[in-house]
Amino acid sequence: MEGILQTFGLDWPKFISQVIIVLIVYVILSKYAFGPVIAMLEARRKRIAEGEANLKTIETELGKAEEKVRGMLDQANLDAERLIAEARESAEAVRGQKTQEAVKEAQSIIEKAREASRLEHESAMNELRRDFGRLVIDATSKVTGKVLDDGDQKRINEETAGQVAL
C-alpha cells in the first residue's frame, strides 16, 4: 500500500500539512460559519414559531372578543326591545289614564255648564216673572185706575208667576 501511495504522490510532510489545513478549515467554518448561521436559523425559526403562536392567540382572542361583542349586542337588543315594550305599555297606561281623566273632566265641565245654565235659566225665569208681574201690576193699575195694595199686588204676582210657569 505504501508503494501505491508513493506512486500516487504521497509525501508525509506535505500530507501532514494538508491535514492541518483541513483541520483549520474545519475549525474556521465550524466557528465562523456553521455555528452562527445555524444559531441564526434557529433564532429565526423560533421567532417565526412565536409569531405563528401569537397569531393563533390573537385570532383566538379576536374570536372571543367578537363573540363577546355579539353577545353584548344581542343583550342590548333584548334590553332595547324590553324597554320599548315597557315604554309602549307605560304609554298605553298613561294614555288610558289621561283619557279617563279627560272624560271625567269633560263630564265635570258639562255638568257644571249644565248646572250653571239651569241656574241662569232659573234666575232669568225668576227675573222674568218679577218683570212680568210688575208689568201686569202696572198694566192692571193703569187699566183699572186703581191703586193696588200689597195684597193685590201679591196675588197678581202669584197668578202671573203661575201663568208664566206654565
Partner: protein, 281 residues
C-alpha cells in the same frame, strides 16, 4: 497534414506528483492553492457572518441558504440526532472540495508557473505550475479522508460506545435470538472482519476516487488545450483550437467538480449513518 496517430494524452503539468514551488521551499503548488482557498473561505464567511441580522443581506442570505440546504441533506441521511455533530465535518468537506475543484478551472491554474524560458514571461515548456487544484493531489484527498475517518471514529464511539461499536461490527444482526444467534455467530464475526477491512480501505477509496477524477479532468483539459499542436495543425489553427477544444470540457468539469464533492461528502454521510445507526440494537 493532420495525423491522429501522432496524438498521445498529456498529463497535467507536474504529473500525478504535486511539485514543490521553487521559490517556496517544500511547499507544493497544491498546498499553496489549499491555503488560498482556505483564506478565501475564511474571508467570505467572516464578511457574510460578521454582522448577522434577522433580516439577512445578500452574502448572509447566500451562506444561510447554502448551510440550510446542506443541513437538510445531512439530516436526511444521518438523522436528526447525529446531524448536529456530523454536519460541520460533512459541510466542510463538501464546501472545501467544491471550492478546490472549481478553483482548478480558473484561468492560470496549471498553466502559469516555472519552466524553460525563451523570453521574459514566456515559457517554452511548463515544468512546475504555480497553482494546482488542491484535490488533484493525493496528500490533500488523503488528508480529507483521514480527518473524516478520525471524526467518524469519534462519532461512532460517542454514539454507541466502544463495546457498542464492536457489537455493531461483529455482533449478530437482524434481531436474532436463542440458539440460532449463537450458531450464526462465527459467520457474523467473519462478516465483521470483512467490515473492518472495508473500513480500513475507505480512506483509500475516498481519496483515490477524488484524486482520479480531478486529476483526470486536469489532464483532459490539458490534453484538449494542446490537441491542435499534437495533431499538427497550423500554428494559427492550433491557437484557436487551444481555446475551442477544451471549452465543452470546462462545462463538464464544472459538473464533475460538483459531482465529486457531492459523492465524497455523501459517502461520508452514509458511513456515519451506518456506524451510528441504533436500530439493530
Amino acid at each position: 497534414m493532420v495525423s491522429l496517430t501522432t496524438f498521445s494524452p498529456l498529463l497535467a503539468a507536474g504529473g500525478i506528483h504535486a511539485p514543490e514551488i521553487p521559490a517556496l521551499g517544500w511547499i507544493s503548488n497544491s498546498i499553496l492553492v489549499a491555503v488560498i482557498v482556505t483564506l478565501a473561505m475564511l474571508a467570505f464567511t467572516r464578511m457574510a457572518t460578521k454582522r448577522m441580522a434577522l433580516i439577512p443581506g445578500p452574502k448572509q442570505n447566500f451562506v444561510e441558504y447554502l448551510i440550510e440546504f446542506l443541513y437538510g441533506q445531512v439530516e436526511g441521511i444521518v438523522g436528526k440526532h447525529v446531524a448536529p455533530k456530523a454536519f460541520p465535518l460533512l459541510a466542510t468537506i463538501f464546501i472545501f472540495i467544491l471550492a478546490s475543484n472549481w478553483f482548478g478551472l480558473l484561468p492560470g491554474v496549471g498553466t502559469i508557473g516555472f519552466g524553460v524560458t525563451n523570453a521574459p514571461f514566456v515559457l517554452e515548456s511548463l515544468e512546475t505550475p504555480l497553482l494546482r487544484p488542491a484535490t488533484a493531489d493525493l496528500n490533500m484527498t488523503l488528508a480529507l479522508a483521514l480527518v473524516f475517518m478520525l471524526v467518524w471514529c469519534w462519532l461512532s464511539v460517542s454514539e454507541l460506545g466502544v463495546w457498542g461499536t464492536l457489537v455493531h461490527i461483529f455482533g449478530p444482526k437482524g434481531g436474532l435470538r436463542g440458539a440460532l444467534k449463537y450458531m450464526l455467530m462465527p459467520i457474523f464475526m467473519f462478516v465483521g472482519v470483512i467490515e473492518v477491512i472495508s473500513i480500513v480501505f475507505r480512506p483509500m477509496s475516498l481519496s483515490l476516487r477524488l484524486l482520479g477524477n480531478i486529476f483526470a479532468g486536469e489532464t483532459l483539459l490539458h490534453t484538449m488545450g494542446h490537441l491542435g499542436e499534437q495533431v499538427g495543425l497550423p500554428s494559427w489553427m492550433a491557437t484557436i483550437s487551444a481555446v475551442v477544444f477544451p471549452l465543452p470540457f470546462y462545462f463538464m468539469e464544472i459538473l464533475v467538480g460538483a459531482l465529486q464533492a457531492t459523492v465524497f461528502s455523501l459517502l461520508c454521510a452514509v458511513y456515519i449513518k451506518l456506524a451510528t445507526s441504533h436500530e439493530e440494537h
